[in-house]
């Protein structure tokens, strides 16, 4: 129910933005259209997800993300503009906590906009992201960075019990051993 209220609010906001003017008529027609759309295309509620928004944590995530986006652009610009080729591609499997589909979606999209990484595939249960890396030095470093990003996303949008499970600072939390070994499978020896 609360999920539908927020979907209706977002859709109505999009409608008003498209009309470029906040008038009572626009708001009312936007709400009507949003109600019709959500009635026609009901969204299946995700089990166990009680998403919320924590403004301070969301601001931290946004700051981290914008900084990384700028860094990503500098890295790609350097690679495009210099004649030398330092590209060292690899595909790294990253077992993430996978709290909910929404959080994993945000993490996967943010990865694609941060330096030298691009999500190319996702496994469910256990949740594993497969990331293409432009300048691969150490797969462990990539895994650490993504888990840090996921912790920031959970702090911003995740349910309270998930945040509690992150622990104190939560940025170096290890996965349950079974999940980690299953997800990283037999590592090829280079």
């Amino acid at each position: 129910m609360t999920a539908r209220v927020s979907v209706v609010a977002v859709l109505a906001a999009v409608w008003v933005a498209l009309w470029e003017d906040v008038t009572p008529a626009n708001v009312v027609s936007g709400l009507l259209v949003a109600l019709a759309v959500t009635a026609l295309f009901p969204n299946r509620p995700e089990p166990g997800s009680s998403a919320r928004l924590r403004p301070v944590a969301a601001a931290r995530l946004l700051g981290y993300f914008l900084w990384k986006l700028a860094e990503a652009n500098a890295v790609v610009a350097w690679e495009v503009l210099t004649p030398t080729n330092r590209v060292n591609e690899g595909i790294v499997a990253i077992p993430v906590r996978g709290m909910s589909g929404g959080i994993t979606t945000i993490v996967a999209n943010a990865i694609s906009l941060t330096p030298g990484t691009l999500t190319i595939d996702v496994d469910d249960d256990p949740c594993v992201l497969y990331v293409h890396v432009l300048h691969l030095r150490d797969p462990e470093e990539v895994r650490r960075e993504v888990l840090h990003l996921e912790a920031l996303v959970i702090r911003a949008f995740g349910p309270a019990d998930a945040v509690a499970r992150l622990g104190g600072r939560g940025e170096r939390v290890d996965l349950a051993p079974s999940q980690a070994t299953e997800a990283t499978r037999e590592e090829p020896t280079p």
Binding site: V76, E89, G90, N109, L113
Partner: protein, 118 residues
């Protein structure tokens, strides 16, 4: 005062356009689908944001700013999703790609094309 705002807006629009140009050059210079997707997503997104902020500074009414914000939000959702789908499809279809580091932990390439991955 409007002179300063106009200058900032102009610089942002030009910088954004240069980033878009950079994305284009990257598409041309990079060697396989994945590296090209790196070039296509990141500079294109930040470049668009620069152009949008520049346009918002010059916009005469607030309504236009709302629409520009909407454009930015949709770009942040669609650019990585699009790159993800292209990359995934290319991987599964066995499009030739280079894995110069030798680290390949997805290991779901179609068997016949395995020799093309190195």
């Amino acid at each position: 005062m409007t002179g300063v705002v106009d200058t900032v807006a102009g610089v942002l629009v030009v910088a954004g356009s240069l980033l878009a140009l950079l994305a284009g050059v990257g598409l041309h210079r990079f060697g396989d689908v994945f590296t090209r997707m790196h070039a296509a997503t990141k500079p294109a997104t930040l470049g668009l944001v620069f152009v949008l902020v520049g346009a918002a500074l010059r916009a005469s009414e607030e309504g236009a700013v709302m629409k520009l914000l909407l454009v930015a939000a949709l770009q942040f959702v669609t650019a990585p999703s699009g790159a993800h789908m292209v990359g995934r499809a290319a991987y599964r279809a066995g499009v030739p790609l280079r894995i110069s580091s030798g680290v390949e932990e997805l290991r779901r390439r179609p068997a016949a094309e395995d020799d093309a991955t190195t």
